[in-house]
């Protein structure tokens, strides 16, 4: 990580009245989405009557498989996609009727690395600030570029930058007008570990200064690290909105797979107390447990296996990926179990 990156960042983003505002409005929602629907000209219904409130100052992670409607939802709120029905307000301003006020509060980091290739970093970030109606403030732009480790690239043309650097440029552009709400659409797709760490540090600092952050991601670890609340969207519907802690408890299931030396016909009666299933024609024994539980039962299972002289060649543990969980959440139970059964 670049030296000094994490230093003294918070203060710069802190609006003067932030503490007061935070105290007064901390319980209110900054974005209210009511009955929002979007049907594309092709007939595809991307959003189906979405109702969602984003609380002021929180980090909200929007999770969902590809094509679930995440980007469309963000697009509608930011003014890139026209809704078919429903309303959205940002800090009380309707996104259609009062779009100027609504949009000036929002910064958007799009999923695609779309940049003005021939522009310099400094020019493109300054352009964004002007576009959002803010007077010049070179000191602030300098601050952002330094925080995002872009300062020494400020005179470089964007097309000469690496993918990760371009992503930083997009973040700098989104922050250039000091937004109150920041949308990060898949910010870490194709981004290396170092940049991810930097980026999350910036996000944390922003949050500390009172900025509300809405991000979409595929990575459960990210949601786990960052978010206060998590919403799951699937096929255009919000199917779950929950506090992270609660959701993590639900999603914390893990599986231990034992590759047996000799196949079993059935799970031995002596092992019935453990949550076991046979797979791969009896060659694998699958143990499902809860990582958050005080006792996972792994030790007991292994000692029972040793006692019964069931030997295994190899073992592996797997945690349900978010994709799996989405499928579990969105697919009907019979269909889901059909997928598991041999």
């Amino acid at each position: 990580m670049e030296p000094g990156l994490a230093r003294a960042r918070t203060a710069a983003y802190m609006p003067v009245a932030a503490p007061l505002l935070l105290r007064e409005k901390s319980m209110t929602s900054i974005i209210s989405i009511n009955g929002l629907s979007k049907t594309y000209a092709s007939g595809f219904q991307a959003l189906k009557s979405i109702n969602l409130d984003i609380k002021r100052g929180e980090i909200f992670a929007l999770l969902g498989p590809n094509g679930a409607g995440k980007t469309t939802l963000i697009g509608v709120i930011c003014g890139i996609v026209n809704p078919t029905a429903g309303t959205v307000t940002v800090d009380g301003h309707d996104i259609a009727g009062d779009y100027r006020a609504a949009r000036s509060l929002i910064g958007l980091v799009p999923q695609e690395l779309t940049t003005d290739a021939f522009e310099t970093v400094w020019a493109t970030v300054s352009f964004s600030r002007g576009l959002f109606g803010k007077p010049k403030n070179p000191a602030y732009i300098e601050k952002i570029l330094k925080d995002l480790s872009l300062w020494d690239k400020k005179d470089n043309k964007i097309m000469t930058l690496s993918g990760g650097m371009k992503r930083r440029v997009l973040i700098a552009k989104a922050l250039s007008h000091e937004p109150q709400v920041l949308f990060l659409d898949e910010p870490t797709a194709g981004v290396d570990v170092e940049l991810r760490k930097d980026m999350w540090q910036v996000v944390r600092d922003l949050r500390a200064s009172g900025v509300t952050i809405i991000l979409t991601t595929h990575y459960i670890e990210e949601a786990e690290d960052m978010a206060d609340r998590i919403g799951v969207i699937s096929k255009g519907e919000i199917i779950l909105v929950e506090n992270k802690a609660e959701l993590m408890r639900k999603l914390g299931k893990k599986q231990l797979t034992l590759h047996l030396q000799k196949p079993l016909d059935a799970v031995p009666a002596e092992l019935a107390a453990h949550n076991l299933a046979l797979a791969d024609d009896g060659n694998e024994l699958v143990f499902t447990y809860d990582t958050n539980a005080e006792r996972t039962g792994v030790t007991a299972l292994l000692s029972d296996l040793a006692r019964l002289n069931i030997r295994f060649r190899d073992l592996q543990t797997t945690q349900s990926s978010l994709e799996d969980i989405f499928i579990g959440l969105v697919t009907d139970r019979p269909a889901a179990s059909a997928g598991v059964a041999p």
Binding site: R100, R103, S126, S128, G130, L131, F132, K134, P135
Partner: protein
């Protein structure tokens, strides 16, 4: 309701962005049109023109100057403005424009203003260059500038519409190459429409470019194919048609929003 004030910062940001693009591509955007127009002067004005008799009392080399400036003004305004708005659509950076607190009027102001500025500068450079080749007299400098500015703005607006309509680089080129250039050539760039047979004179009146060139030429030599007031009126009509189209585009999000 939402128009508390005009977002002048945004207009300036877009304008400066577009002007810096012009400077970045100065060979393509300034030098190349000036050279190609100069070639017309050399070939049609000096070489061939010296063998052509005067047209309505004006030396042929001078007669074609307003037409050539118009030819360049129309094609360059259209191409520059269409490219200016098409490129962000093509690369995807249009997302920022759509998500910014700017009105359609402000976006059009920035792009069209920059494209028109560039065309006007080009027009003036070419006018200055033409002095090197032919003796020129401008009878009505005010009206000359008025026609120059109005035409630059109108066709930058037109180009802006093309840039939003186009679905690829080919479509972007088709309108200037296949419509504007032929209409300009047939609109009296190199001849007075009075030399045509009566039937074709009538047909020519359906060519909007005739009015632009005629009015512009009148401001130089006080000779015109149609009354300068009609020319001015038609220019303003085109301007309004383009403005209404742009207003409609942003109202409906045509080709801009999904």
């Amino acid at each position: 309701m939402n128009t508390h004030a005009i977002n002048t910062h945004a207009i300036l940001a877009i304008y400066k962005f577009e002007m810096s693009r012009t400077l970045r591509t100065i060979w393509q955007s300034i030098v190349s049109p000036v050279i190609s127009t100069s070639l017309y002067f050399v070939v049609f004005g000096a070489a061939i023109g010296s063998r052509i008799t005067e047209i309505e009392g004006v030396a042929y080399g001078a007669f074609i100057v307003p037409g050539l400036i118009m030819l360049m003004l129309l094609t360059q305004s259209t191409m520059n403005a269409s490219f200016g708005i098409y490129f962000p659509r093509f690369t995807g950076t249009i997302y920022e424009l759509l998500s910014a607190p700017v009105s359609s009027f402000e976006i059009a102001c920035g792009y069209v203003g920059a494209a028109a500025t560039k065309s006007i500068i080009l027009g003036l450079i070419i006018l200055a260059t033409s002095w090197l080749f032919v003796p020129l007299h401008i009878a009505h400098p005010f009206w000359m500038l008025t026609f120059l500015v109005l035409t630059a703005i109108t066709f930058s607006l037109f180009g802006f519409i093309i840039g939003i309509w186009a679905d690829g680089f080919e479509q972007l080129q088709i309108i200037p190459l296949l419509i504007i250039t032929p209409l300009t050539f047939l609109g009296g760039t190199f001849y007075s429409t009075h030399v045509l047979p009566p039937f074709w004179q009538t047909v020519t009146l359906f060519n909007p470019v005739v009015y632009l060139i005629s009015g512009f030429r009148w401001s130089f030599f006080e000779i015109a194919d149609v009354s300068p007031l009609v020319s001015l009126g038609m220019t303003l009509v085109f301007l309004c048609v383009c403005l209404v189209t742009i207003w409609w585009i942003f109202k409906t999000g045509y080709r801009l929003k999904k």
